[in-house]
């Protein structure tokens, strides 16, 4: 029963994918959209069932399907593990997935390849489910690469534009760099523990006495690199902003709510490994904090509405990694969930705006949309408040927990994180003000077409906004349902409710104040002073550095892309020809010898006989006189 249901859960989106690929075109756009949506919704329903079951029984469901890969010292099964973590993840993957599918029916309706879009989305959900419910690291890896593929396909969905294709390729390749790390981590774990299965691994680690901590640390670090790639952390984050080339629902689903959290999922999944590698945890924490700050600063000056959100996502993911690094896995998970709600809402909202403006993404050409796009505005506002950490919105609770944990461990990290949240509040409200307030700055033609989006678009917005508002309830500081739910996963005792003393309240207050300051500055700048970001060419000073994302892309280009291309050219033009001519060189030598030899073959009998005699004398001398 469970096996069948799990298969249904997994295969429903896959069937949707197949159906849409083969018949999507013929059955029409709406129908293909509906089928796509229904399959994901079906998965969601099954997830709900499993959620109920797990909540009650509290025992993970293990499903083995078949042997997959045989390694000398262990075997990898194709199997599923449905436990608290995976079901939780499934909930928002399929849940938000369903909502975004609904949204896309309308959003993508004008696109001629809509069936393909749904096919890819379904495929993505399929792979995401695989990633989450896999019972071992290799099945996770299937999903891991699979979602990367879908991300590639969807970023490059409008494949006629080579810039988009470049972005897609970049995303895939940077993901692959991480994937290599993940693979290395898998190799080390495999050879250390002779298993890749989570459950066995956990027993092996917790039961073992003398573990090879050195190699475990290396494994953990390698796995972390994998997570970095997928979850867009420094130094592998640059693909995520570029990934905004894809349609907005894609950004919402893949690049905000689900796929990019795979890294967090994986680290949480293997928390017992990471717990053994405190050095790596420190690195994770530092990387997370730095990423969150760097991304936030870049987000400050971006003018593309989706870019801002993208950097915001990077920044928020950084916060989650901070939590992971500090061992507060459940906090990170909490933030993943709330972030999924509000960021998905924000992206979908921005999509709604872009939809209304027929593809315009530059905030400098927006403004005043509050009046025409009421629902969008309100949901957007709620989500912005949530991300800015204003109570009682969900973001407040999750972010506050992170900050609190950070404060406990390291004040510097706390400061960085707080600064990042202050900046978050600022840029989010900058975005909000520039988009929805004041007068419309676009063309008249655009203005005449302004409209609120249809209900298929607003419905998911509303649902998500509600979730973004109330999502914090699942883990209140004093009474955390989430912590209890997840506790079987962690070897360490979950941080039970903090002793709520003055420090904690003070921290909370600081966080809120920081958020409010950010909002306030944005208000004064964009509402009071009525500023609009200047044109690209006029950006100067540090803003320019920020606007150009610290020139990291250029730096990477010079350091890696150009050098490798240069190397390729060098190899192609010089090394290959040299190697080739080395072989031909022998031929040339032989030919030259032949050419010289032909001169010897002069046709003169005298010469021939002369050589004859010389040869004869040499042989006789050698045989009889040389002794």
């Amino acid at each position: 029963m469970n096996t069948n249901l799990a298969l249904l859960l997994l295969l429903a989106p896959f069937l949707g994918f197949l159906f849409n690929i083969f018949f999507g075109k013929s059955i029409g756009k709406t129908a293909s959209g509906v089928i796509g949506t229904l399959t994901v919704a079906l998965s969601f329903a099954v997830t709900l069932y499993f959620f109920g079951q797990i909540s009650v029984s509290k025992t993970p469901i293990q499903i083995q399907l078949f042997d997959w890969i045989q390694i000398s010292n262990f075997k990898v099964d194709f199997g599923f593990l449905l436990d608290q973590l995976s079901v939780l993840w499934l909930l928002f993957v399929t849940g938000i997935g369903s909502l975004i599918h609904v949204y896309s029916i309308s959003y993508m309706h004008d696109d001629e390849n809509m069936h393909k879009f749904f096919a890819y989305l379904n495929l993505f959900v399929f792979f995401m489910i695989t990633l989450v419910i896999g019972s071992n690291l290799l099945v996770l890896f299937i999903g891991w690469e699979g979602v990367g593929l879908c991300s590639y396909l969807l970023i490059g969905f409008w494949h006629k534009n080579q810039d988009f294709n470049d972005a897609a390729k970049k995303a895939f390749i940077m993901n692959r760099i991480g994937d290599l790390g993940l693979l290395i981590g898998i190799f080390i774990i495999g050879s250390l523990f002779s298993t890749l299965d989570y459950a066995t691994l956990k027993t092996a680690i917790t039961g073992a006495t003398n573990l090879d901590l050195y190699w475990i640390s290396i494994a953990a670090f390698a796995l972390f690199i994998g997570a970095c790639g997928k979850s867009a952390q420094i130094p592998l984050y640059t693909w995520l902003p570029d990934a905004m080339a894809g349609p907005t629902p894609v950004s919402a689903l893949i690049h905000a709510a689900t796929m990019v959290t795979a890294g967090i999922f994986m680290i949480t999944r293997l928390n017992y490994v990471f717990d053994l590698a405190p050095d790596v945890q420190n690195i994770i924490a530092i990387v997370g904090a730095v990423t969150s700050l760097v991304a936030a600063t870049i987000a400050l000056v971006q003018t593309d509405i989706k870019k801002v959100l993208a950097y915001s996502t990077v920044s928020q993911l950084g916060l989650m990694f901070l939590a992971l690094g500090l061992g507060a896995y459940e906090v990170a998970v909490f933030h993943v969930i709330t972030h999924a709600f509000f960021k998905a809402c924000l992206f979908l909202g921005s999509g709604s705006v872009i939809h209304a403006l027929h593809g315009e993404q530059d905030m400098r050409k927006m403004g005043g949309l509050k009046k025409v796009m009421g629902i969008t505005f309100i949901t957007f506002l709620l989500s912005s408040l949530a991300i800015s950490g204003i109570p009682p919105f969900s973001g407040f609770f999750s972010k506050d927990e992170i900050l609190m944990v950070a404060f406990e461990h390291n004040k510097v990290l706390w400061f960085i994180a707080s600064l990042a949240s202050l900046l978050t509040a600022f840029y989010m409200f900058r975005l909000l003000y520039l988009t929805f307030f004041k007068e419309f700055r676009g063309t008249a033609e655009q203005k005449s077409h302004l409209h609120e989006s249809p209900s298929l678009i607003t419905f998911p917005l509303i649902v998500l906004a509600i979730l973004a508002t109330v999502g914090g309830l699942i883990s209140l500081p004093t009474n955390s349902w989430l912590n209890g739910y997840l506790s079987p996963l962690f070897s360490k005792e979950v941080h039970e409710a903090h002793h709520f003393g003055t420090t904690e309240y003070a921290l909370m207050a600081i966080a809120v104040i920081a958020g409010l300051v950010g909002i306030g500055v944005a208000y004064s700048k964009y509402i009071k002073q009525n500023q609009v970001p200047v044109e690209d060419a006029e950006i100067t000073g540090f803003s320019k550095v920020l606007y150009n994302k610290y020139y990291v892309d250029e730096f990477y280009n010079v350091l890696f892309v150009n050098s490798i291309n240069g190397l390729s050219k060098f190899f192609r033009d010089y090394v290959e020809t040299t190697l080739s001519s080395a072989v031909f060189g022998l031929e040339k030598i032989a030919n030259e010898l032949a050419f010289q030899g032909k001169k010897l073959q002069s046709g003169s009998i005298g010469f021939y006989l002369f050589v004859f005699v010389i040869g004869l004398c040499t042989i006789i001398t050698y045989l009889f006189l040389a002794q």
Binding site: G603, S604, G606, L609
Partner: protein, 106 residues
């Protein structure tokens, strides 16, 4: 009958023969007139014949001399064929200078 080689010594015949043979070789290399070259070859063969006879005496054995007959037969046959070739070249080229025969080379 006394062995005449007691008086002369087989070495002397060998040296004589070698020198004569070498003269033949020299002639083959030195001259360009094909007929003279033929003659030089005859000198070489005769040098060997001489040595055969000397060895025949040395061994007191008739076979060496018999071999000289064969050698002569061979020489005669070679000369016949060689001159026939020569004549036909002369008919074609009007010359028997072997230096003119360098069409085949390379």
């Amino acid at each position: 009958m006394n062995n005449i080689l007691n008086e002369i010594g087989i070495e002397n015949y060998i040296f004589l023969s070698v020198i004569l043979f070498s003269i033949g070789v020299f002639g083959v290399l030195y001259r360009r007139n094909a007929i003279i070259v033929f003659m030089s070859i005859e000198i070489m063969l005769n040098a060997v014949n001489l040595l055969f006879v000397a060895f025949s005496t040395y061994h007191q054995d008739a076979q060496g001399q018999v071999f000289v007959f064969f050698s002569m037969a061979v020489a005669a046959a070679e000369v016949a064929v060689g001159l026939a070739i020569l004549v036909s070249i002369f008919r074609n080229l009007g010359s028997i200078d072997i230096n003119n025969l360098k069409n085949l080379k390379g």
